[in-house]
C-alpha cells in the first residue's frame, strides 16, 4: 500500500513544498491583513494554476457539449472530457476505463450505489455494516435504503484513539451481511482504515464492499485492485480539482449487472415511445450533460499530481503531521481527537475553555482557516462525547509556516478565553 501507484515518470519533479505553494495562486493572498494559512483542505482543497488554466482554456478555446456534435469543436471537447477517465483509472489502478463513472459529486455516487445496486440486490432483513466514523454521505443513503427495504444497519465500532476495531467489525458479520461501506481515511480523525483487510473479511462473508475514498485518495496512494473493493468513491474537489464532479469506481461486472438510476439523455442506446435501451457502462450511469469543464479540470489536477512521486507527497504530509502534533502538544487544555497509529494529515481538536466555533472565529482574524462543527459526522461526535470539534486538515501545500500560524493563533485563543 505504500508503493506509489503511478509508474515512475521520466520528467519526475522533486517535491519542494515552497515551489508547490507557488503553483497555487490563492495561497499568496492575505486575509484580514494576515498571510493566508489554509488548513481546511479536508473540506475542499485549493487549485493549482494548471487546473485554473485548463478550466479557462476549456471555456475560452474548446468548449461545446460532449458526445453530441459531429463538428470539430464538440469532438475536441469530448476528447478533452473523456481523457479524464484514463487518468482516474491510472490514479486508482483500476483494471479498465469503463469502471470509472463520472457523477456530479461523491454524495451522488453513494446514492447511486444505494439506489441501483442496493435497491435491486438487497432483500428485507439483509444487513449493511458501516463504521462509527463515517461522513453523513456514507450514512444517510443507507438509512434511506434501510427504511425503504426493511434492512438492518449495523455500526462497526472504533477504539478510543479513533482506530478501527477489527474484532468488533468481525463480530457483526453474519450470513445476512450484504454490503459493507467504510471510509478509507476518516474526515474527522484522520484514521486510516485497513480497507484491504476489511474487504477480504467482508467478501469472505459474501458482502459487497464500498470504500469512501474522499480523504483517502488525497492522503494515500490508492490501488483498488490491491484493496479488492467493489466500489471506491471520491470527491475531486478535495484533490485540487474543481467542484461539481464526483468519481465512482465500480468493478466492471458489478456495474454491468446494475440497473441505471437517473434517466435522460446520454445514458441510452435507443429510445422509442414504448421503451428505452440502456447504453453500455459507464454511460448507463451518466444521464444528462456531464460536468464537462470540471472533468477537464480534474484531468489537469491529475496531471499536476502525476509530476510528483506520490510517496514524496505522502512523506511531506507525514512530516507536517508530526510537526503539528508536536507543537499542539505544548498548548495547555488542548485535546486532539484521533491519535490512531499511522493516521493522516487531519487533526480534530477541542480546547477546555473555548468552543470550536470560538476557536475558528478567533483563528479567522489571524488568517488561519480551520473548520468548526460536527464535520457532517454527528454520530461520531456522539461517540467522542463532544458537540463539535475544530479541525485542521492538510494538503500537499501545507508547510510549517501554516502550522506555526495555527499555533500562534491558538495561543491568542488561550489569552482571550483561558
Amino acid at each position: 500500500m505504500n508503493a506509489p501507484v503511478a509508474a515512475p515518470l521520466l520528467n519526475h519533479r522533486p517535491f519542494d513544498v515552497e515551489a508547490v505553494r507557488r503553483d497555487f495562486p490563492i495561497l499568496s493572498r492575505t486575509v484580514h491583513g494576515k498571510p493566508l494559512a489554509y488548513l481546511d483542505s479536508g473540506a475542499s482543497a485549493q487549485k493549482p494554476q494548471m487546473v485554473l488554466d485548463a478550466v479557462m482554456r476549456a471555456y475560452s478555446e474548446e468548449y461545446a457539449n460532449v458526445h453530441r456534435g459531429a463538428y470539430w469543436l464538440s469532438e475536441r471537447a469530448t476528447a478533452n472530457y473523456e481523457s479524464v477517465r484514463g487518468k482516474i483509472r491510472a490514479r486508482l489502478n483500476a483494471a479498465d476505463e469503463r469502471e470509472i463513472v463520472l457523477t456530479h459529486g461523491a454524495t451522488e455516487a453513494f446514492n447511486l450505489i444505494a439506489q441501483t445496486y442496493g435497491r435491486t440486490a438487497l432483500q428485507p432483513g439483509d444487513e449493511i455494516i458501516i463504521s462509527a466514523l463515517e461522513h453523513h454521505s456514507n450514512i444517510v443513503p443507507w438509512h434511506m435504503l434501510r427504511d425503504e427495504k426493511g434492512l438492518v444497519l449495523k455500526i462497526a465500532p472504533i477504539h478510543d484513539d479513533g482506530s478501527f476495531d477489527m474484532a468488533g467489525f468481525e463480530a457483526l458479520l453474519t450470513d445476512r451481511t450484504r454490503l459493507v461501506s467504510v471510509a478509507h481515511v476518516s474526515n474527522v480523525l484522520g484514521t486510516v482504515l485497513p480497507v484491504a483487510e476489511i474487504t477480504a473479511k467482508a467478501h469472505a462473508a459474501g458482502a459487497v464492499v464500498v470504500i469512501d475514498g474522499c480523504q483517502g485518495v488525497v492522503h494515500r496512494p490508492v490501488d483498488v485492485q490491491a484493496i479488492g473493493c467493489d466500489f471506491y468513491v471520491f470527491a475531486p474537489h478535495k484533490l485540487y480539482a474543481p467542484t461539481g464532479i464526483g468519481v465512482l469506481y465500480g468493478r466492471l461486472d458489478m456495474l454491468e449487472r446494475m440497473p441505471p438510476w437517473m434517466g435522460g439523455g446520454d445514458m441510452i442506446s435507443s429510445v422509442t415511445y414504448e421503451k428505452s435501451e440502456w447504453a453500455a457502462v459507464p454511460a448507463k450511469f451518466e444521464a444528462g450533460t456531464p460536468p464537462i469543464v470540471s472533468a477537464i479540470g480534474l484531468a489537469a489536477a491529475l496531471d499536476y499530481l502525476a509530476q510528483f512521486d506520490a510517496g514524496e507527497i505522502h512523506a511531506h504530509e507525514e512530516a507536517m503531521l508530526a510537526y503539528a502534533m508536536e507543537r499542539l502538544a505544548d498548548i495547555d487544555g488542548l485535546t486532539v481527537h484521533g491519535t490512531a497509529p499511522g493516521k493522516s494529515g487531519i487533526i480534530s481538536f477541542s480546547m477546555a475553555y473555548a468552543h470550536p466555533h470560538d476557536i475558528a472565529t478567533v483563528l479567522d482574524r489571524q488568517g488561519v482557516c480551520v473548520r468548526a462543527g460536527h464535520h457532517c459526522a454527528q454520530p461520531l461526535m456522539e461517540r467522542l462525547g463532544v458537540p463539535a470539534t475544530a479541525r485542521a486538515s492538510f494538503g500537499m501545500y501545507t508547510n510549517t509556516a501554516d502550522i506555526d500560524a495555527l499555533v500562534k493563533a491558538l495561543r491568542s485563543v488561550q489569552t482571550l478565553f483561558g
Binding site: 468552543h355 470550536p356 466555533h357 470560538d358 472565529t361 482574524r365 468548526a372 482571550l416 478565553f417
Partner: protein, 147 residues
C-alpha cells in the same frame, strides 16, 4: 455594567472605542458572560435554533395584562462569541413591544456595530436564525392581538 442598563446606542459608542479585533471580541465575550445563562431545563431541542457550528437556544415570555405587551427574550449558546452576539440581540430586541421589534432594522443596527459579518445569512452560526425567530414571534404576537 449590567446588560439591562445598556442600549444599542451605548454599544455602538463602546464599539467605536476599539481599534483592534481582539478588544472587540473581548468585549463581545464579556457581554455574553454577563448575560444570565438559561436554566438547563430550557436547553432542550424545542428551544434550539438552527445552526451548524454551535448550539443556540432561545426562549421568550410575553408581558401579562398589557394592552400592548412587551416581549422578553432569553438566549444561550455553548460558544462564547455566539453568546456575546446573542446578548447584543437581546439588548436590541428584548423588552420591546411587537410593533417596536418589527420596526427595528436589525441589519442596519448590526452594521452600525460592524457586527454584520457575523450575522450575514451565509454564516450558519444560528445568530441569523435568532433574528428571524424573534421577528416571527413578534409578528405572531401582533396577529394574536388583532384576532
Amino acid at each position: 455594567m449590567s446588560l439591562d442598563s445598556l442600549n444599542i446606542d451605548d454599544l455602538a459608542e463602546n464599539f467605536s472605542l476599539f481599534d483592534d479585533w481582539e478588544d472587540r471580541y473581548r468585549y463581545i465575550i464579556d457581554l455574553g458572560r454577563k448575560m444570565p445563562p438559561l436554566p438547563d431545563a430550557d436547553k432542550v431541542q424545542a428551544n434550539k435554533v438552527e445552526g451548524c457550528m454551535s448550539q443556540v437556544w432561545l426562549t421568550h415570555a410575553v408581558e401579562a395584562g398589557a394592552a400592548e405587551p412587551r416581549l422578553f427574550f432569553f438566549a444561550d449558546s455553548d460558544a462564547h462569541i455566539v453568546k456575546g452576539l446573542l446578548a447584543v440581540l437581546l439588548i436590541l430586541f428584548s423588552g420591546k413591544t411587537a410593533q417596536q421589534i418589527l420596526a427595528i432594522d436589525a441589519d442596519a443596527e448590526l452594521a452600525r456595530l460592524e457586527l454584520d459579518q457575523h450575522i450575514s445569512p451565509n454564516r450558519r452560526n444560528g445568530v441569523t436564525s435568532v433574528v428571524r425567530t424573534i421577528r416571527a414571534l413578534a409578528a405572531q404576537s401582533v396577529e394574536a392581538a388583532a384576532s
